[in-house]
Symmetry: C2
Subunit: 225 residues, 2 copies
């Protein structure tokens, strides 16, 4: 099974729902694309006619707030899909996608997936369940944003990245993003994010090497409030 098949599998849990043939056809992935660090994959307001599947690299899904600041809604890594919602709704996307490092992606046209959605109820039900999970996550994040102080949000973001994307061979978080990105994940000023990360470093909760961050005391971060 090639990597592109596996991304469909990861997102839609489709091994059960899609037949081998359907999976192969969707995964044929004729339009592979490369994006460089910082490059825009799509922007808020565009109409997407398919989904992007991440084969390598990391990107952020974000939305520009009225005050001109970017808010990161989600990080997507290998095996993740961008533009899922565009499959079922014809509206423009409400999010922008930007590569955080060099990326390899493939593109699956909407038409390919729509065919299966209409034919295969199990597949549709599966997509539905995935969407329900996304909604739950988004609601939970909303509550965190509204109720938890910045320091706690940053601590939890570090733990989230550790838990979901892991570390490299030296124990540093495998996802390396700027302080500005951390700020726009938790919705604060860049200086505040920097200050809090410096504080964590001073306390020994984390250590850094360039932009890389190593989590030394996950328990200490968990207790922060």
């Amino acid at each position: 099974m090639n990597r592109c098949e596996s991304c469909i599998v990861k997102e839609f849990n489709s091994l059960k729902a899609l037949t081998r043939d359907e999976l192969m056809r969707i995964s044929s992935c004729k339009t592979g694309k490369l994006f460089k660090k910082g490059e825009i994959i799509f922007e808020e307001g565009e109409i997407l006619n398919g989904v992007f599947c991440v084969k390598d690299g990391v990107c952020k899904l974000s939305k520009l707030s009225e005050n001109g600041k970017d808010q990161v809604v989600k990080l997507v890594v290998k095996g993740g899909l961008l533009g899922k919602r565009s499959i079922v709704s014809d509206e423009t996307t409400n999010l922008s996608a930007v590569a955080l490092n060099d990326m390899e992606m493939c593109f699956i046209p909407k038409s390919e997936i729509m065919a299966d959605l209409k034919k295969n109820p199990n597949f549709t039900l599966d997509v539905l369940q995935k969407m329900a999970g996304d909604l739950r996550d988004s609601e939970d994040t909303l509550v965190d944003m509204a109720q938890k102080p910045v320091k706690q949000r940053i601590a939890e973001t570090l733990l989230y990245i550790l838990d979901n994307f892991g570390t490299d061979e030296d124990g540093y978080l495998s996802i390396v993003i700027s302080r500005e990105d951390y700020a726009s994940i938790v919705g604060t000023a860049t200086e505040s994010a920097i200050r809090i990360l410096s504080h964590f470093k001073k306390e020994g909760f984390i250590s850094t090497s360039g932009k890389k961050i190593k989590i030394e005391e996950p328990k200490a971060l968990k207790w922060i409030q």
Copy 2:
């Protein structure tokens, strides 16, 4: 068409997707329920085996944050459904539902709807689109929460209620909720919500009569930041 049919229609746009017979069967609504103001309809962590349909009254969907404060995620009025996600996922609900005034509801068992989800792909696709819309809303709210100051969030909440739930014959917002609820919609302290509403009143943007609020200057509220 009775009111209970209409709520299914509103949420799922099912006139097209469901046959008349399917709609009638689901809407049969044998288990009507009444809830008094303040009563809990269901709580975070429960397993729901169906959806509630609001026939009259208003309720809030909220989630208890770790700091013990309630965060309102959504207001639901006549025609809205509670527990939609429970239909497709077997997980416990992440939200609590509490009646904000006396309510009349009906309950549709999960099994009734599941049958149609599995048989009728168009219906499933329709539910999927609705869920995609909910996800978009939730993401947009998340960005607002993270990026906009409290004053602006309260101003926008007032306008949201005006636009979505309208006014009574005297021009007051038809949804009447406590200052504490306003606070927990925008994620702030009750005193802060009170202070800001008082400020709006002093500026002439709104006027009040008891707990009722009338929006006098929607444009002024729109410009706040």
